[in-house]
């Protein structure tokens, strides 16, 4: 299906609902959302003000759903929504918005700005105004199976290595187990130790699990780009596989957008509730910790801080698990000022990290300075997080600025310090 302006506008008309109408009518142009946006704060450019990023959506709303706006359009007084406008807004809607949702936390009139960005992206995708990088990732997810073009043999290889390293067997396509374990391509390529860590923890906890050869990828580029039809196809792979294998639960990997996709958007995309439960790996680990199954042999000594991934914490609602887990394994955990649901984004969520134009990369590096300051002000050399995408973006930032910071994944950190 080819993308056209007409389709884009039709889609925007379809996604506009009462919350969006209420939000757009409530905005008083106070500009406070800019103060919550890392792209505005680190560049000082007012075009990055979150509410301004929604201008095409606002115009469609006004011209289609308000009496005065319809009248203005009829007599030719309305500002047009055309390909030129949408192309200009591409940078604002994708490169400079990670859908971190911090703006929604501060808006005094209660506008859920990130909710509207997500909807605007539907229109951007339908009209063909999307960044090449995310488009490629989406195409690879649909055609090959994952955003990085990974196929099952690569996963099978990681499984083999994890089995050899842990001495445990990692089942594949096994029905009637407790958990179907999902991965993200980033983890498979960059952090294969995650799977080994999980195998160890599951073994300790006596929890049964499997991987599925036809549904291993948890991320969903369809959601990031804003194409619900594609997102539905991608999420359906997991749903079909999990329901065929009759698993009780599906385990979302650390990856933030994967969690958003499978836990919150998935049922809405397929139009029905699942026959299984979705659990984020940290929720499971915290549950095991509470039950006393996770026994730590020795604590990590160096002082460290935590980076809360937006999609898991602020937008996903996994608020309570991270801190007790880090406190269980680290002797010197230092809580930072803007943490948990007020944390600052790494700068590369929402598909932004897949955009590799020079401008987008330079902007990401600038936006990272807010994270850099958080690290420097805390005076530590170690940061822990629990999202593969955050890890990649933060590591790029650390390299870019030549920082002396070691970055660790929470699940692996826990696994390393478990009692044998």
């Amino acid at each position: 299906m080819s993308a056209t302006l007409e389709k884009g506008i039709r889609v925007l008309k379809e996604v506009i609902d009462a919350p969006i109408a209420s939000y757009l009518n409530s905005c008083v142009h106070c500009g406070l959302c800019a103060e919550a946006c890392l792209f505005y704060l680190e560049t000082g450019d007012p075009k990055y003000t979150p509410i301004h990023k929604l201008e095409p959506l606002r115009r469609v709303y006004e011209q289609e759903y308000t009496l005065l706006g319809r009248f203005a359009k009829m007599v030719g007084l309305a500002k047009p929504v055309n390909d030129g406008l949408l192309e200009e807004w591409k940078e604002l809607v994708y490169d400079s918005c990670t859908m971190c949702g911090r703006c929604s936390m501060v808006c005094p009139v209660g506008n859920d700005i990130v909710y509207m960005v997500r909807k605007l992206r539907e229109g951007m995708a339908a009209s063909g105004h999307t960044p090449e990088g995310i488009r490629g990732a989406t195409k690879r997810t649909v055609e090959i199976g994952g955003p990085m073009g990974l196929k099952w043999p690569a996963v099978a290889n990681v499984i083999k290595k994890a089995e050899a390293a842990s001495g445990l067997s990692i089942p594949v396509d096994q029905p009637d187990v407790d958990f179907l374990v999902l991965l993200s391509s980033m983890e498979i390529v960059n952090y294969p130790e995650y799977l080994e860590a999980l195998a160890k923890i599951f073994n300790k906890a006596g929890v049964t699990f499997t991987l599925a050869s036809d549904a291993f990828e948890a991320t969903n580029a369809g959601i990031q780009i804003g194409a619900s039809d594609v997102a539905r196809v991608i999420v359906s792979r997991i749903v079909d596989s999990a329901e065929r294998l009759r698993v009780k639960k599906v385990l979302s990997p650390e990856c933030g957008h994967a969690y958003m996709a499978i836990r919150w958007e998935g049922p809405n995309l397929i139009g029905r509730p699942y026959k299984f439960e979705v659990v984020h790996v940290l929720e499971l680990l915290d549950d095991l910790r509470k039950k006393g199954v996770l026994k730590i042999k020795d604590k990590f000594k160096d002082p460290l801080i935590l980076h809360d991934p937006c999609q898991i914490v602020r937008r996903g609602g996994v608020l309570e698990a991270p801190e007790p887990l880090i406190q269980a394994v680290a002797e010197n955990y230092i809580p930072i000022v803007d943490k948990q649901k007020m944390n600052w984004c790494c700068g590369g969520g929402g598909g932004a990290s897949a955009i590799h134009t020079e401008e987008a990369e330079a902007l990401r590096a600038k936006a990272f300075r807010i994270k850099k300051r958080q690290i420097e002000e805390s005076g530590v050399n170690t940061m822990v997080t629990f999202c593969a995408n955050c890890r990649i973006v933060i590591e790029e930032g650390i390299d870019h600025y030549g920082m002396n910071t070691q970055l660790l994944g929470l699940t692996e950190l826990l696994a390393e310090h478990l009692e044998d």
Binding site: I16, D17, A18, P19, I20, A21, S22, Y23, N25, S26, C27, V28, H29, C30, G31, L32, A34, E35, A36, Y40, G44, P46, K47, T49, I51, H52, Y65, T66, L67, L68, S104, M105, V106, C107, P108, V109, G110, N111, D112, Y115, R263, W264, E265, G266, P267, N268, G271, R272, P273, E277, R314, R315, G316, G317, L319, V337, D338, K341, M342
Partner: protein
């Protein structure tokens, strides 16, 4: 038309027109917005949503941590002129008498010297937030004709009301008539400009609280 006829007109026909447009406008706009409805979230909620929407209606009146420091003028100026407006509109005795004549309900008011002071402070706060809108790069960037227009619509009734009470500039009758006229303009434009946030702010906060409460995030 002499000044007495002018006053009579704004109190009678003028007020009838303004109130009719205001009331019909508010109902129409609320219908236009909220009849769009929304799809309910099928994903099972983290906890029961409960009253998360109502909580957010109240919680959002308090600035999030660190925000007052980032934008003190917006917050302090905003609080002062909103609270000031509410005190003046609803607790100045002549206003209560007017409301009583329209709706038949009444309540005790505040001493007029106090309202006088509140009016001066409110006008000062409004001038400060206007200056901020002109000088702050983000606000200036976001501002359209409506922002300047609605500021004027809100400021004029304050100014004319204060001048009328103080018997300044113009004869009392003329100033009072002008005051009522500016209030009528405010009423007429309120439903069709950003001033309508006075109504939608509750719906917006409620949706925000509900949508995020479903995921287990108090906002």
């Amino acid at each position: 038309m002499n000044e007495m006829q002018f006053l009579t007109w704004v109190r009678g026909t003028g007020m009838d027109i303004a109130l009719s447009i205001f009331v019909l406008g508010v109902f129409w706009r609320l219908f236009e917005i909220y009849s769009l409805g929304r799809k309910l979230d099928i994903a099972p909620g983290r906890h029961r949503d409960g009253a998360s929407g109502w909580h957010t209606i109240f919680r959002r009146s308090v600035p999030p941590p660190g925000m007052v420091k980032r934008s003190p003028v917006t917050y302090i100026g905003g609080y002062v002129f909103h609270i000031g407006l509410a005190l003046i509109v609803f607790l100045f005795v002549p206003h209560i008498i007017f409301i009583n004549s329209v709706l038949g309900i009444s309540w005790p008011g505040l001493p007029s010297q106090f309202i006088d002071m509140v009016t001066v402070i409110t006008m000062a706060a409004m001038i400060v937030v206007l200056a901020h809108r002109i000088n702050n790069p983000v606000k200036r960037y976001l501002s359209t004709f409506q922002d300047w227009f609605t500021w004027t619509l809100t400021f004029l009734p304050l100014l004319t009301g204060w001048l009328a009470v103080k018997h300044l500039l113009l004869p009392y009758t003329t100033m009072l008539a002008l005051h009522i006229l500016t209030v009528e303009l405010l009423l007429i434009f309120l439903p069709f400009t950003k001033l309508f946030h006075a109504f939608t702010v509750f719906g917006s906060r409620w949706y925000l609280g509900k949508i995020n409460g479903h995921k287990g995030v108090p906002v």
